[in-house]
Point group: C2
Chain length 368, copies 2
Amino acid sequence: MGQKTIYIVGLGLIGSSLALGIRRDHPDYRILGYNRGEKSRRIALEQGFVDEATDDFAAFADRADIIILAVPIEQTIAFLEELATLPLKEKVLVTDAGSTKEAICQAAEKYLGPAGINFIGGHPMAGSHKTGAISADINLFENAYYIFTKTSRTQKDAIARLTDLFSGLHARFIEMDAQEHDRVTSQVSHFPHILASSLMNQAGEYALDHPFTNNFAAGGFRDMTRIVESEPGMWTSILMTNPEPVLERIAEFQSRLSHISNLLASRDTDAIWDFFDKGRRTRKEMEIHKRAGVDSFFDIFITIPDQEDVILQILELLRGISVVNIRINEENREDIDGILQITFKNKEDLDRAASVIRTKTSYPITIS
Amino acid sequence: MGQKTIYIVGLGLIGSSLALGIRRDHPDYRILGYNRGEKSRRIALEQGFVDEATDDFAAFADRADIIILAVPIEQTIAFLEELATLPLKEKVLVTDAGSTKEAICQAAEKYLGPAGINFIGGHPMAGSHKTGAISADINLFENAYYIFTKTSRTQKDAIARLTDLFSGLHARFIEMDAQEHDRVTSQVSHFPHILASSLMNQAGEYALDHPFTNNFAAGGFRDMTRIVESEPGMWTSILMTNPEPVLERIAEFQSRLSHISNLLASRDTDAIWDFFDKGRRTRKEMEIHKRAGVDSFFDIFITIPDQEDVILQILELLRGISVVNIRINEENREDIDGILQITFKNKEDLDRAASVIRTKTSYPITIS
């Protein structure tokens, strides 16, 4: 597509990783970067993620063929407003990387629409607790879903320009309505975060009068509350820019709790059993075992003896096979797992691993 | 304490593992076993977990100095009723292994009380997805909490007999009120299970109209719903024998959701931030990172490059240091983790591991 100039606004984990993906397939593109903080700006320059860097957002805007806003949601909206006041290339295309889409798309419509500036909302659905350019990872979005919003003003060729720009990410590009994106993420991410934090707060207060609450929390409780330690600011922004779908999920969930409460109050054993059984069947049908953003998820479950270096022994056998994840699930009576679970990226690796374990050890294995 | 005869009723994972623990410190004790199913009965005999086995509960009752009921809750209650009708040794002591305690203790009071039969409720707080005598594990209860209920009729010497009997489990014995046990477990286990199953059912129904719900479920959602795949029957029994504390937790949680709903409806950004921040701080204060049943939990977090055999390399460095758990948390933007987390059983192992990683690698580490 010829030499282009890309302006990445925000050189944190996301922006820097996007830069690496662009470099991979478009080494000839010129990449300009904005970052408020000096450290990531310096690292991005030193590492060559960007060719030039600034802490003045307006400085590079007029040189860009494509502008990628990779900053927090509120900042993204503020920059959209500012962009409308800046001199830009006539065919400039603007996109973003925010976790919610409708509020951002509405801001783009409001500020860029009148100026006829083309905008496509984007959400690369991957990330990390790690932050900053120092954590840039060209594989961060591999096999991850990368959402592009359909809007009334969306032109096919605009999305084509972005999928070409980001081809080096090896992500899975999906077009969907901004509203639908926000509804789905409210169900699988935003509302569950409220549930987890509420449960944590409830248990914390309960522990004041019932101290063993702190001791008896088992694997299930820990897993349910793990995300509670996320950074509060990001989640506040997410809720504030996606309130209606979240409010709707809360209300719907309230009615579910009331229903279960009634079943339990009336000691309806069969209905309670059906409730738990439905959840179990639903989870299996949802193939939730798959990692979000990965097309397929390949697990091997190995029943191992409780002795030293068994994991080491197994990984030695698997040397050269790329491991996506590994865990020993705690043995907890009310939990379901209790064996060494190793996850591979594809069926080939899984099959190789399974045959090695079968031939070289006597450990029972099952495959997901 | 001289030769004793122990009658273990139920030779599943729990009963068989208890038998192994008794054998370790009391090789001279005679262990009799009941199991309805033939397979676990045969395995328990073949493996020597028990000296004799029967499928007739009443058959061995009169020979036992101590009777351990390790069957489902309803069956435990049924056997308590039946015990009152059987000829038993005068000083027989009866205990159980059920997940809820008050209903069982009340049944014991009702059926055994009048006959003056001594009963102490028990809850060995460990387990596994594995079942049957085939899964018996002498280490299953190591460092796990083992609850003994205090009742009006409890005699110190009765609990002393049990802690002596089970000394080989290397468990952490705690005496607590049956009601308090059920309240605490309703908060950290029973109610959270309802939350997880409700979330799963909600998402499953949402997916019917919003199919991407199946695709976008990320690590946080998966962790929150993992326990949903547990066996429905056990959880139904737990709720049915602990309804009031669970109902109280549901109602209390409903008010929390209503509160958050109001904060969000009124766009109270600061209050929402405080809500998330409180959850994060509470979780850290609760040291929920500790594994339930383990006195202390020692984690090292290693930031590793995304390349093959890094875990292998690290475990080779840690050779000989016992690893309790290991995991790479998925990189998910809305999640908090994304580094190799290795858990050790004690501070010594953690310190050894940390110094090895520090000296032999350049990977950044943090220690919990």
